[in-house]
């Protein structure tokens, strides 16, 4: 598929020559970075899969939670309540499976920006509503600063993940020594093919 340098098969298979182990660089720091990548990926994956379950099981309650935010026009409330949990489930599953991580990380990051914005907005408005984040029960899960801290932490994790997968292959963090490794050149060369 000629989308200026990207073929559909490439997108489906994932960035083979850009997988983290090709660009976390050599040595201890590279291994730590790789471990951090996997930890961030698994934490976000589990969180999103877990958060999606209640919402998929009880769309009526989740639609009400979405409506209570008073952000979306009424016509979009139900559509959002139906589709959003599946986005969470699929993006979370992809992160757990370590496939399509660039796309999944982008989606997760986007969602978290929206969630954090919506929570902040409604806390500023002083609206006393349920978060609807991990449970659709209105009796549990009011929103407070802790909710915001939790979301912000996830947001930082997702930015880190996005940063990792969108880095140029072979690129090093500024703090990493720029010693030359033959396999790095190989992976950089491969990407330009």
């Amino acid at each position: 598929m000629p989308l200026r340098g990207i073929s559909l098969s490439r997108v489906l298979s994932g960035p083979r020559d850009r997988r983290p182990w090709a660009f976390t660089g050599p040595g201890r720091q590279g291994r730590l970075l790789l471990a951090a990548y996997h930890i961030a990926r698994v934490i976000l994956g589990l969180t999103f899969v877990y958060a999606s379950i209640h919402k998929i099981l009880d769309p009526i309650a989740f639609a009400e939670a979405v409506n209570n935010y008073r952000i979306l026009p009424a016509d979009l409330v139900n559509l959002t309540a139906l589709v959003l949990p599946w986005i969470e489930l699929i993006a979370g599953t992809l992160l757990l499976l370590n496939v399509w991580v660039p796309g999944a990380a982008l989606v997760v990051c986007g969602l978290l920006v929206i969630f954090t914005g919506a929570i902040t907005l409604n806390m500023a408005r002083g609206l006393d509503i349920a978060c609807g984040c991990f449970t659709t029960s209105p009796a549990k899960g009011g929103m407070n600063l802790l909710t915001l801290c939790r979301d912000s932490s996830f947001l930082v994790l997702s930015f880190f993940l996005l940063f990792m997968v969108l880095r140029k292959p072979g690129a090093r963090l500024p703090s990493q020594k720029t010693e030359s490794h033959p396999e790095d050149h190989a992976s950089t060369g491969g990407a330009k093919r």
Binding site: L3, R4, G5, I6, R10, V11, P15, R18, I56, P59, I60, A63, N67, N68, R70, A74, D75, V77, N78, L79, A81, L82, V83, L84, P85, W86, I87, L89, I90, A91, L94, W100, P102, G103, A104, A105, L106, V107, G110, G126, L127, D128, I129, A130, P138, A139, K140, G142, L162, V165, L166, R167, K168, P169, T188, A191, K192
Partner: protein, 177 residues
């Protein structure tokens, strides 16, 4: 065509993200269509519809009517907000039944109340849902005449109607003071 690899990665990410969104939309709408308890794709979320029960009766009450019942003393007023907000000020004579713990306290709060007695729930703010949730719960408990005074606390104060502060006289937590 030789694009910088970082550009390709960003494009791949965008394309994957779009595919994730499309797949989710198909699954979300498709699975909903297959469910027996499906929800409509577009629903009337206006306040008016929300304040009508399955039989078409209004579930809210106007201030005038609420004031009339208040002066008659024929209705029970229930404050659905958290206890600390109740203690800072509430409609005079209202009982505290915070929605978050309502399940466990309905019986003790309404033990002397006949199921047909008019009950008026309120919280604060036009979009506060606690009073609606509480009213819904009480109907499930068998109370037949439960209505919501929307934006009750602000409305009551604005109109200079009788209020009071502190705990309810029969609050068991009151013994230590």
């Amino acid at each position: 065509m030789n694009l910088p690899s970082a550009v390709i990665t960003v494009r791949e990410a965008l394309l994957q993200a779009v595919l994730i969104l499309v797949l989710s939309a198909c699954l979300g709408i498709g699975v909903n269509a297959l469910r027996s308890d499906r929800i409509p794709l577009v629903q009337d979320w206006s306040l008016e519809t929300q304040m009508t029960d399955d039989l078409g009766n209004r579930t809210d009450i106007g201030l005038k009517e609420a004031v009339r019942l208040f002066h008659e003393g024929s209705a029970v007023f229930l404050d659905a907000r958290p206890k600390d907000e109740y203690e800072r000020g509430h409609i005079r004579g209202a009982r505290s039944l915070p929605f978050e713990q309502a399940d466990a306290h309905v019986v003790e709060a309404l033990i002397d109340t006949d199921p047909g007695t008019p009950i008026i729930t309120y919280c604060d703010g036009p979009y506060c849902t606690l009073s609606h949730d509480l009213a819904h719960l009480l109907r499930e408990f068998g109370f037949s005449d439960v209505r919501v005074l929307v934006n009750g606390w602000s409305l009551w104060k604005e109109h200079g109607l009788p209020v009071e502060q502190g705990r309810a006289p029969d609050d068991p937590d009151d013994n230590d003071t």
